[in-house]
């Protein structure tokens, strides 16, 4: 059975995504790491769907739809920020910093 190995791989991918979000400052790269985390979760869903029924695969649909919406809106926000600040480095985007 591939369930155990799949869960291990998705754990590694999710941790790598978290590491990317925590270690990088480029907003676009951080965004890509969020997509990586979503994909790790998708792998978990598909692996469990093999044993618990096709509902897990259907959930992956919804995750993909949310990821597409998130990518569209998020990249639009990054575009708007870039227009104001001429940078996507999060160190320079510190409007909320006290």
């Amino acid at each position: 059975m591939l369930l155990g190995p799949s869960l291990a791989v998705s754990a590694v991918l999710f941790a790598l995504g978290v590491a990317g979000v925590l270690l990088r400052r480029n907003a676009i790269v951080i965004f890509m790491c969020v997509e990586l985390m979503l994909n790790a979760v998708n792998l978990t869903f598909v692996a469990l769907a093999q044993q618990l029924g096709v509902a897990g695969q259907i959930f992956v649909f919804f995750v993909m739809a949310v990821a597409a919406a998130e990518a569209g809106v998020g990249l639009a926000i990054i575009l708007a920020i870039y227009r104001h600040r001429q940078t996507v480095n999060l160190q320079n985007i510190n409007l909320l910093k006290g």
Binding site: A47, A49, L52, A55, A71
Partner: protein, 173 residues
């Protein structure tokens, strides 16, 4: 070790290595292209897990549409050439690695998880249903039956996202 497991670990290794490259490359374009490699190897893993239709969607939607959107924005903002490193300082680096490592240890404990005996299907049920009904109907029937309401709500979400993206990206309404 049978053939399936060898192929599985080959693609799993490719996915992990390219994910690692994705978070360490300095140039955002290189990161995006490594992420595409990760998405493709995940699609291969989906095929091995009897989710062929999801694998096709993964290639079409993720690697095809979403990553092209990312590359498009990178090109539009002219961020293609690698600038100075955007990694955090030593303090942030240590804290980030420790947090991610802690999370990894926690999550790896899950790999021994087994579905509760009452709920688990017999091995090969999904593959057999796909062989009997066809791969797409096996997924589409529940999607347009049991899960019809969430499916319709997704269309509202996508509409909101379209409107939001246009409003945010437009210079002046």
């Amino acid at each position: 070790m049978d053939g399936t497991l060898i192929i599985f670990w080959a693609f799993a290794g490719l996915a992990v290595v390219s994910a690692l490259s994705c978070i360490t490359r300095r140039s955002p374009v290189a990161s995006a292209l490594w992420l595409v490699v990760t998405l493709f190897s995940l699609a291969a893993l989906f095929v091995l897990l009897d989710a062929q239709f999801i694998a096709v969607l993964q290639v079409l939607v993720y690697a095809g549409a979403i990553m092209v959107l990312f590359l498009f924005v990178i090109m539009l903002l002219n961020l293609g050439r690698p600038g100075p490193t955007d990694l955090k300082g030593p303090m942030g680096l240590t804290v980030g690695v420790l947090l991610a490592g802690g999370l990894l240890v926690q999550l790896l404990g899950l790999r021994r998880a087994v579905p509760p005996p009452g709920l688990a299907l017999a091995p090969g049920v999904i593959a057999r249903a796909a062989a009997e009904q066809g791969m797409v109907p096996a997924v589409a029937r529940p999607l347009f039956g049991t899960y019809l309401v969430p499916f319709e709500i997704t269309s509202i979400l996508l509409l909101a996202a379209i409107v939001g993206a246009v409003v945010l990206a437009k210079r002046k309404l």
